[in-house]
Amino acid sequence: MEYSAIEVAKKVSNRWGNKPENIIEMMHDIQTELNYLPKDVLYEISKYANVPISKIFNIATFYNAFSLKPKGKYKICVCMGTPCHALGAPRIVSALERELDIKCGETTKDMKFSVEITGCVGTCGLAPVVVINEDLYGPVQVSSVPKLIKKYDSK
């Protein structure tokens, strides 16, 4: 994705009043916009928000929501809440790994899909649940995984 690090940092920092305490919110916005936290943008935002870069990396690596590596166009998150686990979420993860030929936490070579596990998304009535970007699916069965992937692959 094409972006200007200075422009992104300036815009996001301004949105949160350039206040150091809002750095986490700023990082959320960068992640939403670019799908990950590029280093050059983080260096820029460090200047605008007046937060040392070491602190920014501390935050980026502490919180699960942030990623320093680019993610796939479609981020597949398998919910690992208790009900999802009890109703077979680990088998859904293996099915996705088989289907996409990557391990959980990785991204396919064409940058189309990444697979990860996520904390409870709170729709336990639909367990097991899979979230692909903004869309939520449930209950998902092992046998319905290939169809689900195909739906996004052809998009």
Binding site: E21, I24, T82, P83, S94, R98, G119, T123, G125, V142
Partner: protein
């Protein structure tokens, strides 16, 4: 306001939306227009009804006819039959499992009939994105009462009389917390709503926010007034709940527009405003000190609480933090009186604030029960009533094994204790806890050792790493559990596991580490035989721990039904499957890595576990 003959309440909670309830709403509106009855029937989107397993849900008021599991294609039938001819569509109504006659009315369905609604009183009845709907149901009346006719001390007293205790899990008396914060020195104080609902299997807070965000905001304003010197409040919501964040933001904007937030509220010279902060996927941020660190823009690491947050919290100022459900109870207590609230529940709180559990508690019932969803019940109800009467029993007629309450900090409660009343003290006594209210039911097909490992893996991964007992202790405990589930466990491991658990409980810095071993301790206490089966017999009774399973192929099924489809061979990572298309396949036990991939992919159930 216009009066309609019929109101169609479409559930727009996350679960129903993901199953296309918004498309159903659109289709309903279109169909109603096609039949020119738009002056008689109105379509309203509501918050979560709580009966998430039955979604998408439509309730036709004023009769309260309940439709479940709807599809866009059902809309035409409902409009033509029910709205025009007045005949509810039988096949779309709720039918209890193992029965044939449907129950048309929501209020007659056991799942709803057995509940007492306080925090969830508006669920399914209002549009959560409309402040007018909330006001029409008596919303902000409590705030008006507080600001026009009560002193802050009177408000505080009412909360104390009610016996309300923290609904986030700790059960700390809310009145005591407010009072300590009120007395703390400082002319700048904060209130926080903890909506970082991280417990897996818990979604009470999400439903309250998505269904009735104003009740939380009203509670916070009342709290700020009672504590005094509070000008700013924060709502800390986890980013996994995008719809909740959106609804909160809408609600805050509307409240500002109506002058209920901001400067000089109700012309009483009282200023208060609320901002939202998004969590970033760290479970530990549900802990109060970690949450405050996160709001300050730091990594969410907890600190030792020699000085409580009510004295020195956010930016070292006195801070009162309560859970979503606690705040949502406040307006009702003010309106109906603390005495009324205290009349529900167990024990006596007039002398000792810890003397009983008052009011109701919202639980999210999930796992292997027939009716999954959100239930609000009076304190003191038994677990049996919740699981079997409201929850409708175990799915597929399987045998109940245990109920896990309190999320990863709670414990397993076995069948022998199922008549236990739900109460803060009673649950703690058996090694579990109230927690935020997750209630996950497991049946005979769940392996308790695997479940304990699951919870521990969760807390271990979420440990912030600040203190050693939690960082290292949970890791070593997890190693032992992994060893056991892989079939290499010894009897000494069980003793070591117990010792280590107790050490972690006693020496961890915050509640995350202090309660992380609870699932292990309770499962060891009540289900030791299952651990022993893994350790001594090297078998997993529920066939969940794959390394202990022996996979076999039923030759007859493979050949006659599957015609030797060869799919298992394609997916076997170890090359352990012998055979070719249209012929019988076999598993070579010497090569089999026991990953279970063949078992998952076989379309004919030809592979079984011995």
């Amino acid at each position: 306001m216009k009066n309609y003959r019929l109101q169609l309440m479409v559930c727009a909670g996350t679960a129903c939306v993901s199953n296309h309830s918004l498309e159903i709403k659109e289709a309903l509106e279109k169909e109603i227009q096609n039949h020119h009855i738009e002056n008689e029937a109105q379509v309203v989107q509501t918050g979560c009804n709580g009966f998430c397993g039955a979604g998408p849900i439509l309730v036709v008021q004023p009769d309260g006819i309940f439709y479940q599991l709807l599809k866009v294609t059902d809309v035409k039938l409902i409009v033509e039959e029910h709205l025009i001819k007045g005949r509810p569509v039988k096949k779309l109504l709720y039918t209890p499992p193992e029965e044939k006659t449907p129950i048309p009315k929501l209020s007659d369905i056991p799942f709803f009939a057995e509940q007492t609604l306080i925090a969830l009183r508006n669920r399914g009845l209002i549009d959560p994105e409309s402040i007018d709907d909330y006001i029409a149901r008596g919303g902000y009346k409590a705030l008006a009462k507080v600001l026009t006719s009560m002193t802050p001390d009177e408000v505080l007293n009412e909360i104390k009389i009610s016996g309300l205790r923290g609904r986030g899990g700790g059960g700390f008396p809310t009145g005591v917390k407010w009072e300590t914060c009120k007395k703390a020195h400082g002319d700048e104080k904060y209130v926080i709503c903890n909506a970082d609902e991280g417990d897996p299997g818990a979604f009470m807070d999400r439903s309250i926010i998505e269904g009735d965000p104003h009740s939380v905001i009203e509670g916070m304003i009342i709290g700020a007034y009672a504590i005094e010197n509070v000008k700013q409040g924060y709502i800390y919501v986890r980013m996994e709940y995008p719809l909740a964040i959106k609804r909160f933001q809408i609600a805050i904007n509307q409240a500002r527009e109506y002058g209920l937030l901001g400067k000089n509220i109700f012309d009483k010279g009282f200023d208060f405003d609320i901002e939202i902060r998004r969590g970033a996927g760290a479970f530990v941020c549900g802990e109060s000190t970690a949450l405050m660190a996160s709001i300050e823009g730091k990594p969410g690491e907890p600190r030792a609480k020699y000085i409580h947050t009510v004295e020195k919290g956010l930016w070292d100022k006195p801070t009162c933090l309560n859970n979503v459900e606690t705040w949502a109870n406040v307006p009702q207590i003010i309106l109906r009186g603390g005495k009324w609230f205290a009349s529900i529940g167990t024990g006596d709180v007039s002398e000792d604030p810890w003397g009983g559990s008052k009011g109701t508690k919202v639980f999210s019932l999930a796992g292997k029960v027939n009716n999954t969803g959100l239930v609000e019940v009076p304190m003191g109800i038994t677990l049996r009533d919740i699981i079997f009467r409201i929850g409708g029993g175990i799915r597929d007629g399987k045998k109940f094994k245990a109920v896990q309450t309190g999320g990863p900090s709670g414990g397993f409660i076995p069948e022998s204790l199922i008549d236990l009343p739900v109460d803060y003290e009673e649950l703690t006594k058996v090694g579990s806890m109230m927690g935020s209210g997750g209630m996950v039911v497991t049946d005979e097909e769940n392996c308790i050792v695997d479940m304990a490992k699951y919870f521990l893996a969760f807390t271990q991964a979420e440990s912030c790493g600040k203190c050693i007992p939690c960082r290292e202790g949970t890791k070593r405990m997890l190693d032992i559990l992994e060893k056991i589930t892989a079939g290499h466990g010894t009897e000494e491991d069980l003793i070591l596991l117990e010792e280590l658990s107790n050490a972690v409980v006693e020496s961890s810095l915050c509640a995350l580490g202090g309660s992380a071993p609870n699932p292990v301790l309770t499962s060891l206490k009540y289900f030791r035989d299952e651990y022993e089966a893994h350790v001594k017999g090297k078998t997993c009774p529920a066939h969940i721990c794959r390394q202990l399973n022996v996979y076999k192929i039923d030759e007859k099924v493979c050949l006659e039904i599957g015609h030797g489809c060869d799919v298992c061979k394609k997916y076997c990572p170890d090359g352990a499957i012998i055979g070719e298309r249209k012929k019988v396949h076999y598993i070579d036990p010497a090569k089999c890595g026991k990953c279970g991939a063949c078992y998952d992919v076989c379309n004919f159930n030809a592979i079984y576990i011995e």
